[in-house]
Subunit: 121 residues, 4 copies
């Protein structure tokens, strides 16, 4: 299940078989995704950055489930808005590579922050 379109299709079937589309407006799904993002963050909030990179196995297993939940909501939002998630990702990576030439921004925290700000504008 490495393929985004297959994941999206399997989730479509899962939701349709349960008649759960009625709950899946983009508005509701965006809330659900943000709630999961909060749960993911909860695992890291009182850790140092270093600790966050070396979680014990039981914590890692929980983080794994949060990552999966976020991806599942992401493909649901793509479905319900009619957006093509794989195409969106290519476009975004192409854009980022053009906008931030490695030779110019290498290792620069300032450039990184600009990159971030450009990204979210």
């Amino acid at each position: 299940m490495n393929d985004l379109r297959q994941i999206q299709q399997r989730m479509n079937d899962f939701v349709a078989e349960r008649d759960w589309e009625q709950f899946h407006s983009p508005k509701n799904l965006s809330m659900a995704l943000a709630v999961e993002a909060g749960e993911l963050m909860e695992h890291f909030q009182w850790l140092t950055e270093e600790q966050s990179a070396t979680l014990p196995p039981d914590k890692l297993a929980e983080v794994e489930q949060e990552l999966a939940d976020i991806l599942l909501y992401l493909v649901r939002i793509a479905e319900q808005t009619g957006l093509d998630l794989p195409a969106a990702v290519i476009r975004k990576m192409d854009l980022n590579e053009k906008k931030y030439p490695a030779a110019q921004v290498r290792g620069s925290a300032r450039k990184y922050t600009e990159y971030e700000q450009g990204k979210t504008a």
Copy 2:
């Protein structure tokens, strides 16, 4: 770029070429993902559920970029925690299908809420 592992690899290269791994602790990445989830939600917050499903093209283009950003942070977190995102997604879908048999939960809001609560527990 439909394949999650290819996306993850391309992001690895993108980050390495710019020497930006230093910013990418799981803690920081989880914050960045949650910030993007907030930006996604911002497009929907004052809309009705119906309106959220029929966005005008300019709004859709912005939503598309937020979805891409979220996926890009998701593969970064998988990379930095050593978790296998495609495997996690299969496991989660297998689990959900076993836990919520379509015949029993079909169209039930209550079962849906239980499903949700089970999921995040």
Copy 3:
């Protein structure tokens, strides 16, 4: 305990007596506040707007705790950044009242959205 400065002072004492300042960088506190905001939202995510305004007592009691948690983190962030929260709130309300004269924006969804966008810019 209606007074923001009294709440902030009582929290200062609570944290100091437990030697918990060490966890309370603004970065960490902003994560904790966002996690609580996610938990608040979780109560509403699958409800209609109407349902969200008429919660049953047990749900209301949970929402009440989330609201309190958010306020407690808010005064902690004010403390740790040295910002004056009551003064900030007056300034923001003065600003909003000047920027959105009631006579001009009354009942307008478009003006409301502009107001929102101005606010977050």
Copy 4:
């Protein structure tokens, strides 16, 4: 404007004069609060914990506005759910003080984490 009830009343008037109650379901307001929490976090996401405690004045001024926005949404949610925010805060602080006796939990990261987990359960 140090008094929560006065802030809540002034926001009630502000919203009523503009006929904006129609947008302020608890569901929508919880999204708006979470969006602001994301904007607050954005200022800190790539900073170290130390840097987050010593922001330059221009950043501090932005953080101040985010804190004010969060408090304003908080009193709106209290209003629209009929909850008494000052009373909720007292109850929560009373609860925390009973649950985490300073003598037992002092300086303990483990106890702190338990405190956190108890809090959000």
